[in-house]
Point group: C4
Chain length 227, copies 4
């Protein structure tokens, strides 16, 4: 046991506990069924991330089930396997330095758009506020994990939205922190549902680009409390 | 500290607590996601209103997070920012003296009608009872807050319903008290859902105007307990 | 205070408490919004019924809010108004001696069928089991309460189902007891939802009459425990 | 009381308690309404199974309501009737020696596909993962229980999926244990809902067979923790 490893363990403990708490919020939000879905966090200042263990029921999650890996997805310590989506999360952290948290779900309405490979059009002020435009679709990435990560990063780099609907798969959401990404994941399902319902009974009109820009700008600046 | 300000503080305390309680009901009703949605109350006998602070999670709401403003939306005291919809609520109180409470949500089914800019037709006795006719749509108001409030007030002035679906945005509901407005907001989502479902599989017929009038009249007089 | 009135009060007390409990089940079942919906029970051996007071929130219901009326809907004692649907319940008890309980809701999917004035076709074994055939629609009865009751009784007299979807209004369900009627109301919403979903994406086939008869017969005899 | 019967009772006790717990999970999962739905378990090493009693409310279930029968569905002991689906479960255990648990529900979205007699196409990676291809439909079996069991077994024998949608009836799901079957039943409803939603607004593409095979293979090997 080196002094560095003692310091690192002390740094990881609160991050792992926060990740347990956020998975609790995810479970109660109705976005996940059974053991599906996962959240990860970058470890600030280290080339490390923490992610949920694979296939563990939400009610059994604790700090020990939050697996620490390097940014290639290799487990650092402990005997639990990390999420089967670990390589994808790691790819995102390697290629998007501003991302501090990633959320992946199969939430029903967002995944329905993903099944069709269809972007969610920006037809509501709340979409302009939170996503700044359409929520884009990414390519189908059949099996190689590298290709899923690459599809996500390329799609996000071409969009203001911090969420992407991977074709025939489901949504991946990023944010400066895992808490911010989780908020965006919850709002993504909400707008995926509302626009689905709207489209079922008729035509919906995209908000014009100038209004989208104004709404997004204002929301970034004026919503919430000054931190 | 003047005697007047002591009296005013005593007057505001129960109103702020009531608003905390009503936000709790709103949260549990399933009409809001994350921190979206807000309720305000007019302060009877004063040119003041109270509204939720911006972006505060529902589970963290307490009296301190209920911000007192004048009827132009200027904060009277405290350090928290009021809801980003404050100017709209204030406009309604300035122009509709009978309104004592305002509720704004993005509830899924009502917002789906709003996305299409389509009024909810009066095809059910419960719509005739509670709304006295169709629930109208208001114009899209891209960013200026004055224009949102003006669109709401103008639409409500031409309708028996105490609710309006603002185009590409969502519902605003008013009432003599915030509790009454909240009840109407809950029933609005209920009828928005039921008529949506009905229309998905066929044609629905509007109730004829005479029957609507009778139902509405009777509901106003005979439903509930004499107060 | 006569000996008879003392005996009657003792007879009513457990029925009123049971009705409080059943309204709790109704509230938790998701079939009602705000104060809508009501359950009544016949008082066995008397020309009396008990029904929920009008407009009282579900969480505030207690024995005092269960109003005793005669079978014309006239209140026997107490100061609370009975449900605004009391005359309809009373009509059913007067004309259907086998009915011991009535449930009325505006549950979303059943009411969507009612809005279209469309019977729910018997396309699932669980519909054959519980309803013995299609769930029929009754006429629109604009305001006179007598006409609502008459429409319900006439429709039920021509059907094996113990439920009717009143046009532009919602479902009324009857049973030998209020608990039995409540079970049927819950299953009605379930099948209203399932057939709605099935029909959204294609054609559904009615089960042939012989199979319906066999299923219904078997369910009546073999389901549940011998009492 | 023979030594064998004492041993058997000791063997059954934990299985019955586990079945009580799993019915609790089933109830909370939203897959069943009122008393519908049932789970059974094979008794390892015996020609016996255990299944829920017929028509008992979920909140009243305890070990005594878990009825032990032989593999022809004949009750071994106790006075409660087993589920009216007992003969079907027994048929499955007799003809599929690898099956250790069976779950039957009328969950809304899966039953909607069953009502149309339509298989759920493998259009999502989570379907490939869990089911290895389309979820198949079985024939309508009007009343003879033997024919329901036979239809289930024949359909499952021709499919990688461990679930079948019985025409005009609902889903039956099998697994090596009742817990595994329950997980599959929950995921079945989830994908039945998601593909339903996707299809409502457009065309969905089946994943190509090679990718399905890879996904299924990988999920079987790499998901979850090594046991």
């Amino acid at each position: 046991v080196t002094p560095e490893s003692v310091l690192l363990t002390a740094k990881l403990a609160p991050l792992r506990q926060q990740l347990v708490d956020l998975h609790g919020v995810l479970d109660r939000s109705g976005l996940v069924a059974w053991t599906s879905g996962n959240i990860s966090t970058r470890v600030p200042g280290e080339d490390l991330m923490i992610i949920k263990a694979s296939g563990v029921p939400y009610q059994d999650l604790n700090s020990q089930a939050m697996v620490v890996t390097d940014l290639k997805g290799e487990v650092l310590a402990g005997s639990l396997r990390p999420s089967s989506d670990t390589a994808t999360h790691a790819y995102i952290y390697r290629h998007m330095p501003d991302v501090g948290g990633v959320v992946h779900t199969h939430s029903s309405f967002a995944t329905a758009w993903a099944a069709r490979g269809e972007a969610i059009p920006c037809v509501l002020t709340m979409i302009a506020d939170e996503f700044g435009g359409d929520v884009p679709c990414g390519p189908f990435a059949p099996i190689g994990d590298e290709s899923i990560g690459a599809g996500i990063v390329e799609t996000l780099n071409n969009s203001r939205a911090r969420a992407v609907l991977m074709k025939s798969h489901g949504p991946f959401v990023v944010g400066p922190t895992p808490a911010a990404a989780l908020k965006t994941a919850v709002l993504l399902e909400e707008i995926a549902k509302t626009v689905h319902l709207a489209r079922q009974l008729g035509v919906v009109e995209r908000i014009d680009q100038g209004a989208i820009d104004s709404l997004h700008q204002r929301y970034q600046c004026e919503y919430g409390q000054r931190s």
